[in-house]
Assembly symmetry: C2
Homo-oligomer: 250 residues x 2
């Protein structure tokens, strides 16, 4: 069966999250209905990352198997035609080998988290960034972020419901960068635990506002206890920007 | 009476435009009601630029006169408290002299226009950018934009309803720059005619898609006829980003 790799963008606001759920509309369901609409067959859309409700994507990746071959651009345009008017779009569709699995072949996931740090409420960025009213010390946040990079037991930054076998992960990058009134956090790893990015950002913001010392991270990691870290920040600012694959599959 | 200069941000989507109108909610009306809500008096909010329906701002400027003085940060926070939940926010409030007039003292206005040039529909950027599906030649657009810079009779780029006394304006900058799948146009002038930016962008896109030659601009300007230029593009991609004042008033 011909397999296709899809690169997908969505506005997470109206959805219960990536994954099909009985309690509301998911991105996966919209895509599966759109594929069925054009290909005339029930198809599972296998995503690389199960983003939560309200989390956005500009570079989610999924794969589908179709009963018969179509030109890749036709797959992209036909799914998009059936997706309207929901805010989900296939940016690219390319033929993929049988060994390509969107989730299990991935070697890198990148997330961006946008914080708008000012007194005034959000307008155009409502739902697309986290509004933090109290002043943040970006240098303290950047220093704390560096202490999270590397291979650690991230139990303290893991949601209770997390289904990963091991809490040990390698965080390749956690960058904190000011951009005007905005603070942009970039997180990069092979994979993340459930809520890991949002709990890391929530903790960095506690450090940035002076509620915890800049050198708090090592003790939080060592505690191996979710209660040791800061709160899970809102989904609004989070976007899955890229999923990377080995060169032979990309 | 104490005067304040307000720097204002808004999402233009739900509004009929900046200016008060009988047929729907304007940004000006929201601000005037918010000022009245906190100061207890009817106040006119004088804006620097009358943005159209659907046009956004990150740097609109207005002035207000209040019956009695308040700390400037109180003015900002109190207006914002009364603005919720509409997507309008006062970013800054500062005391201003009696000679400061948001509209008439302005010496520079800057607009940004965002085009997303790709096949796939928009998701997070819906209403915040113009989606152009056919491929655009950015270099041809940039060359044509340069021919619009300078002092010209812009009659060909002026809406019929335009109330400006003279169609002669000096366009200080019209920059066209690719940014990934996006094309960002920056326009800067002391003032613009009604729909001038949107008609310039609409014309540049016709050149970018090859419907008009790259050197079409001089003949369009010389025609002094709105019918000679391209269509007025949608408001979605347009944002008023800055209004500049002489240093002694800024």
């Amino acid at each position: 069966m011909p397999r296709y790799k899809l690169t997908i963008e969505y506005d997470g606001r109206p959805f219960v999250g990536w994954q099909r759920q009985s309690n509301g509309l998911s991105i996966q369901q919209c895509l599966e209905e759109a594929v069925q609409g054009f290909a005339g067959e029930a198809v599972t859309v296998h995503g690389a990352g199960r983003t939560d409700a309200g989390v956005h994507a500009t570079g989610q990746v999924a794969h589908i198997d179709l009963g018969r071959p179509f030109p890749a651009d036709t797959v992209r345009d036909a799914i998009n035609a059936h997706l309207r008017p929901v805010p989900v779009a296939v940016l690219r569709a390319v033929p993929a080998s049988d060994t390509f699995e969107a989730r299990f072949s991935a070697v890198e996931r990148r997330y961006r988290y946008r914080i708008v740090n000012r007194r005034a409420p959000l307008t155009v960025d409502r739902g697309l960034a986290w509004h933090v009213r109290y002043p943040l010390d970006v240098a303290a946040m950047a220093g704390a972020a560096a202490a999270l990079e590397g291979r650690h037991d991230f139990t303290s930054f893991r949601a209770k419901e997390c289904q990963a076998k091991s809490p040990v992960k390698t965080l390749d990058e956690l960058d904190v960068r000011p951009a005007g009134a905005e603070i942009v956090v970039t997180a990069r790893a092979r994979s993340f635990l459930h809520h890991q990015v949002r709990t890391m950002v929530g903790t960095l913001v506690e450090i940035g506002r002076g509620r915890r010392p800049p050198d708090a991270i090592p003790a939080i990691l060592a505690a191996r206890d979710r209660a040791a870290a800061g709160p899970t920040c809102p989904p609004d600012g989070l976007t899955l920007t890229r999923v990377g694959y080995p060169e032979e599959l990309a």
